[in-house]
Symmetry: C2
Subunit: 329 residues, 2 copies
């Protein structure tokens, strides 16, 4: 597999993160009533890695570079759409996928689920705001994700410059991808399997299915949403989908490895928790060495999938995949 | 105010309910993994009134009757869209709004919220399936609502005849209306105010704001989503929006009246619960007689708003408003 050219992921991420953090801060309604907005903002802030938004933007850039105008997707007509409209769509998609991720953490931390009191080194949302408000904040963040994807151009907060209108076809495609990945066939379905399988021995197939749904679906959707904000041909769409699947699974394998090899301070969450809770993990199933080899295999798959896209500008995507495997938190 | 012509709401509802129940049964994935699908299906079945889906279909029929083809909405071009595509959009919208309503009840019944064990005379979802699965079922129902609104025509369950493609502009408009009504500026925001205001005296303005958000926004969105599945001109859109607002508020006023005047068996839920929980209600605020007079006033407003639409076929909407005021459960 050919190595990707040298690429400064830190520098690339820094400018994208600035845009993402600013958009999230502006679009999460901290003034929503009765403390709800405060809880929603708290859930979204707090120093997450923003891996999903970065995947959206990297995939968007891979398909969108090279011209001012690209044809509109999926409406059967080749109408020119300004690049700025696709850029706006990608920024919305980046925010929306992070809102879904943030809501899932809030609900996952509740006493009826994982009962976690620390997240990124801070009190979890229900510890800080109470259980009822935490549940509602999660519910509100999910709705906000879909509201943001379908917002009209003139409905943005007044401090923002007016954004170009995102084509209806792109709005609908983004909602479709996100809803499917977030719901019963994706993230929520995976969480249900997770809840039901504590203490049960899972075979590798079943473990892989659970993680493909629970973590993988949303990571893969991030890549596919980025691709939907531009003009991906069939080879590019398929390659990016396969890349998203490999990175999504690798993320979870590495998560399982870090749960046994890292300490809580580095992770920002309770290390050894999965093992203590008798949850099925890749490490429990295949041991540490084979889990590490599996992660390396998935990185090769991700690289190969990117080669198959035929896209020129995939350096950021290659680098993100490598970071996912090598990360220590 | 002119009275609406005689109209057989029972007969009208019966055929629409058959379509709604069948679509919900087919589109809620009872086979989702680890008991999740069972919990989702249980939450959606169980004999609700289906008021919101009926409002969607009634509004859709009011704007869509009278021709085979209507112009496509909001895409800047007058492309003919087959009536069947709008009918499919309205059926999806009817299901989606009911999924949001169903999820809100599941979460509302949880121990950290109202801690209710009975709903429509049956054990609530968390009593039957456990708290974790109930929370996930609610989360999955919300995602499913947006998935359904943006489903591609060939993605329907195989037992269904292939449905016509819903225009992207309609898909996006429906998501926009539903997300806004369901989120922090609507239902979830109203619930947050409700949770925060137990035991506090609320002035009439604050009580009205809470109910406009908590219950009214989704009822109003039902009407507006129906209107978005057809060709409503500005007068029709405004009139239907005002009708939705009046019916939404009336629904809650009558709910408060029934909480003190009906018994639990008739209601299918615990009567007197709001008063016992020291929740602010219209009856507590203005007394039973003034609350009844207020409901009657809102019915007049709803009738007047329908007159202002200039639409010919509003008999079902008039009849639903009257039913909302006169209902005993």
């Amino acid at each position: 597999m050919s190595a990707a050219p040298a690429f400064d992921l830190d520098a690339w991420s820094r400018s994208r993160l600035a845009r993402i953090e600013s958009a999230l801060a502006q679009r999460v309604p901290a003034d929503a009533p009765a403390g709800l907005g405060e809880a929603m903002a708290y859930a979204v802030q707090g120093g997450g890695k923003r891996l999903r938004p970065l995947l959206v933007l990297a995939a968007h850039e891979a398909v969108a570079r090279g011209g001012d105008r690209v044809p509109a997707l999926r409406d059967g007509r080749d109408v020119a759409v300004p690049q700025a409209a696709y850029d706006e769509a990608a920024l919305r998609a980046a925010c929306a996928v992070e809102l879904i991720h943030a809501y899932s953490l809030v609900h996952d931390d509740l006493p009826c689920m994982d009962d976690d009191v620390l997240r990124r080194g801070q009190p979890t949302v229900h510890v800080r705001f109470g259980e009822a408000r935490a549940m509602l904040a999660g519910d509100g963040l999910q709705a906000l994700a879909f509201e943001l994807l379908t917002q009209e151009a003139d409905a943005l907060p007044s401090q923002q410059p007016s954004a170009p209108a995102v084509p209806d076809a792109v709005q609908a495609a983004l909602c479709r991808l996100l809803a499917r990945a977030a719901g019963h066939a994706g993230m929520v379905g995976g969480q249900a399997i997770d809840v039901a399988s504590v203490g049960l021995p899972l075979a590798e197939d079943a473990l892989r299915r659970m993680h493909r749904m629970k973590t993988g679906a949303l990571l893969q959707a991030s890549v596919m949403m980025g691709a939907a904000c531009g003009a991906a041909d069939a080879a590019a769409a398929t390659g990016l989908r396969d890349y998203g699947a490999a990175v999504g699974l690798a993320f979870q394998v590495v998560d399982d490895i870090l749960d046994v090899t890292a300490d809580s301070a580095t992770l920002g969450k309770t290390a050894g928790k999965d093992a203590a809770a008798d949850k099925p993990t890749y490490v429990a199933l295949m041991g540490l060495d084979r889990a590490r080899a599996h992660a390396a295999e998935l990185l090769e798959q991700a690289d190969a999938a990117l080669e198959a896209t035929g896209l020129a500008d995939t350096a950021a995507l290659h680098a993100i995949a490598r970071w996912v495997i090598a990360r220590t938190r």
